[in-house]
């Protein structure tokens, strides 16, 4: 009988579960904090679509990478000084007061990592975790502290990855699957 679905013996071992944990820093071990509403990782790679005369659609060999935008959007429940500082690229924190400033090389967060678990994996060669890293990040977008009449506020941070000026062919993101046996 022809299968009418893609489910197999091992399907349950290959389901990536949210929301994932977000880490900040090169080591990838410092938790950013509790999040709410899930996290969204996007790697948006745009390809130029060259249509020579006569082409009725996209043409193999006529596509070129045009831009790469990698972002991670988190909604933080933990509204700490440091997390607000992350949200305001270029700002400074002194004596519990945050003030604005120009962006310099120190404003970039060297690495943001989101790690998520694949449940139920028993085959040692299969991956039990997926980690996505984006590098040289700035948070862009408005900082909105919406204080509802009842309930908690969330601090939404959208981290944008940046190319390293000295390595313009290396895209500023990496996806790592970690096998059970690793």
């Amino acid at each position: 009988m022809t299968a009418k679905h893609g489910i197999s013996t091992n399907t349950y071992q290959r389901i990536l579960m949210g929301p994932g944990a977000v880490y900040i820093g090169t080591a990838g071990t410092q938790l950013l904090g509790a999040t709410k509403g899930g996290n969204v990782m996007e790697i948006n790679r745009v390809f130029r679509d060259i249509r020579p005369d006569g082409a009725k659609g996209k043409v193999k060999g006529f596509r070129y990478l045009e831009s790469v935008e990698a972002t991670l959007t988190v909604k933080l429940m933990e509204v700490t000084e440091q997390n607000v500082l992350y949200a305001l690229a270029g700002a400074s924190l002194a004596s519990h007061i945050i003030t604005g400033g120009e962006i310099d090389s120190n404003s970039y967060i060297n690495k943001i990592t989101i790690a998520a678990e694949i449940k139920g994996v028993t085959v040692t060669t299969e991956a039990s975790a997926v980690k996505v890293e984006i590098t040289d990040c700035l948070v862009e977008g408005p900082v909105t502290l919406n204080l509802p009449a009842e309930g908690e506020t969330e601090l939404e941070l959208k981290f944008h990855a940046h190319y390293d000026a000295s390595a313009l062919t290396t895209e500023p993101w990496k996806v790592t699957f970690t096998a059970v046996a690793a």
Partner: protein, 143 residues
């Protein structure tokens, strides 16, 4: 290979009846009955059952694990001590068995149910369940 329902209930039974803190809270041993307690069951005791329904795709099932506590005591201390153990054991619990995979247990509602009889306390807890019914799925996709 066990039935999905049997596998779930057996695993939960094993977790609850093996826990030393819960045993202490229940006076030395954990009395846990499926669906309905035996007549004149000795207090305190627990009763559990599962209601299941379809998930997004056919191997996924979601459900409710209903676990009731019954106590005969002059105060609510005993039943609340038992409740504390149950929540600490089950909320956010994850487990696998041969028959079911990626089972996640999450506390949804809990509270007292009024009883007419003096000193009889009844506390109802409901946990949500989500799971992958592996054994049944293998039969279904291979039949």
């Amino acid at each position: 290979m066990a039935d999905t329902y049997e596998s779930l209930l057996t695993q939960l039974y094993t977790i609850l009846t093996a826990d030393d803190t819960l045993k202490t809270a229940m006076g030395g041993s954990v009395s846990l009955y499926p669906v309905w307690a035996v007549p004149d069951a000795e207090f305190p005791y627990l009763v559990h059952r599962i209601d299941m329904r379809a998930g997004d795709i056919f191997p996924e099932r979601i459900g409710t694990y209903l676990l009731d506590i019954w106590s005969d005591s002059p105060s609510a201390s005993e039943i609340l001590a038992i409740r504390k153990c149950l929540v600490e054991l089950l909320d956010e619990l994850e487990f696998n068995t041969t028959e079911v995979k990626n089972v996640k247990v999450k506390l949804e509602t809990d509270g007292f149910i009024p009883e007419d009889t003096p000193d009889i306390w009844h506390y109802a807890t409901q946990f949500s369940l989500s799971l992958w019914r592996q054994s049944e799925t293998l039969i279904i996709i291979n039949r």
